[in-house]
Amino acid sequence: MAGTVSGIRTIAITYRILIRQLVTTGRMIALSLIGLAVVLVGWSVGNAERNEFFLDAESIATLRQEDAVFIISLIGFTILVPVVALVFAAATLGDMREDGTLLYLWLRPMPRWAVAVGAWLSSLTISLPLTLIPLGLTALALDTDTELVVATLLATAIGVIAYTALFVLLGTLVRNAIVWGLGYVIIWEGIVAAFGTAAAKVAVRGYTSSILTARTDIEIEVGNSTQTTAILVPLLIALGALTLASLRLGSLEVE
């Protein structure tokens, strides 16, 4: 009657279960409000009056783009992207491990790697619209340049991919993954990454910001990798995190 379950099928089952569990009204409202706040900051900065009458049009455009890159990097990539990813990704395997429901996926003839991938995809699916939409709107409000909007959307997507994988892993490693994750976001991504280009290379934010700087030619301290590196490294981080999460799933004690 029963048998083993293929990897693809396991991903689909895990995904279906977790999507239903993750989308709660409270989470969606809270995170949408944070997104809205980011858009409002972008709109207020983008519409602020300045004493720019002594500058030519090109300089004004550059100044506006510098402001935009700085704000998107600071608020978007330091707060919104990691926090949204943390809330959903840590709630996948982390919450299941803590409330005891993990055994319903663990004690099954299913490959562990596929459970980890299904968990990651579910958190990715929910996190992407909650970050892409507000940051896309913020970029538009700050500067109407299409390149900035495209760079913002690309960097956001890459950031969400890396952060969700990292926080899925974190959920398998520690209890109260949200608290540990917030500590990581504030201390590592927020403070350590701001110490300069070398420190930024060991933080996801350094790469997301690099995509912005590479595509807009606006330089900020936390992002000086090439665009190819800035895309590839977060993807490798995601791959590594999911591999470790799979291994961890196989070795952990399930309550």
């Binding site: 089952i13 239903r20 996926l105 004690l107 399930v254 309550e255």
Partner: protein, 316 residues
């Protein structure tokens, strides 16, 4: 009888679960200590007080936790490393957590899918029928009562038609009718040759299962065998009783003189008696008190609770 052979012994039960010299420690705390047993088809009850190590043993059988020492095999395999054998186990865990936003049908159907059941919807409907739950109930299981959630867990454990069914306190939260129905169901499954392991800390529940029993106390296997034999063994132990009377000294002396007690102590206006034959003591106490003109107020057992039974089994 000349010329006739003795009847052949019953065939040995195939060990479907084999626990060999298993110890499980969490730091300095030993949850299970050097336990060895095998379990074959039929119902086997793990009886023990809360915290005795029953759930830890179940978790190790399912592979959810590795033993610190020893080996645990289900159907000859280690469930922690063998995916195929995990598909032959049905577990109803003690903890209450479910995917609360799913309806009962959705939940059990998902569980069927996780086992690779071909027609998951049909299997889920069948399993929910076995536990008398409404398949058309659209509400999420998060809104269910404890008894309903318990039955959802049972349905989820049954949905893959497992060969080994591990049920951790499965009767908790069920009303008497549901309990009777579930016990019948366990017997039906056992009759089909399945290995049904049921844990309980309630002696009467195990009595109704009428099964092989493994008594677990303080992480050790305290006793094993047929429930009724075990029950008789428990009844043979010395009993302690608390008796409140008007004149405890006089009654105590009389009980001792008549051989009804092997020990007696006066505690305030009460007696604490130890008797080797609780039935005889019960029959003779009131006539003795009446004969001496002593008013008997209260009599209660000091060790009829399960904890003391376990203590007796462990200490003997």
């Amino acid at each position: 009888m000349p010329g006739s052979l003795p009847p052949p012994p019953p065939p040995p039960k195939v060990p479907m679960v084999a626990v060999t010299n298993v110890t499980k420690a969490y730091g300095d705390v030993v949850a299970v200590s050097d336990v060895t047993f095998t379990v074959g088809p039929g119902i086997t009850a793990l009886l023990g007080p809360n915290g005795a190590g029953k759930s830890t043993l179940f978790r190790m059988m399912c592979g959810l936790a590795p033993p610190t020492r020893g080996t645990v095999h289900v159907l000859g395999q280690n469930a922690r490393t063998n995916a195929e054998v995990r598909g032959k186990i049905g577990l109803a865990p003690q903890q209450d957590a479910l995917f609360d936003r799913l309806s009962a049908l959705e939940f059990v159907e998902m569980m069927a899918l996780t086992h690779g059941v071909a027609d998951a919807r049909a299997a889920a409907i069948h399993a929910l029928g076995l536990v008398d739950l409404d398949v058309n109930e659209p509400k999420g299981v998060g809104s269910y009562s404890k008894g309903m959630r318990q039955r959802v867990k049972l349905a989820a454990a049954l949905v893959n038609d497992p060969e080994v069914l591990i049920l951790d306190e499965p009767l908790t939260g069920l009303d008497p009718v549901q309990r009777r129905r579930m016990i019948e169901l366990f017997h039906e499954l056992a009759d089909l040759g399945k290995c049904v392991l049921v844990s309980s800390h309630v002696l009467d529940e195990v009595a109704r299962l009428g099964s092989e029993v493994l008594v677990i106390a303080q992480g050790r296997l305290a006793a094993t065998g047929d429930f009724h034999a075990l029950r008789n063994q428990m009844d043979d132990r010395p009993h302690r009783l608390h008796v409140e009377v008007d004149d405890p000294r006089r009654l105590g002396a009389a009980l001792f003189d008549r051989g009804l007690v092997s020990g007696v102590a006066v505690v305030g206006d009460a007696l604490e008696c130890t008797t080797p034959d609780v039935d005889r003591f019960g029959r003779q106490l009131a006539p003795t008190a009446k004969e001496l003109g002593i008013r008997l107020r209260v009599m209660r057992s000091l060790d009829d609770d399960l904890e003391s039974v376990f203590r007796y089994l462990v200490e003997r």
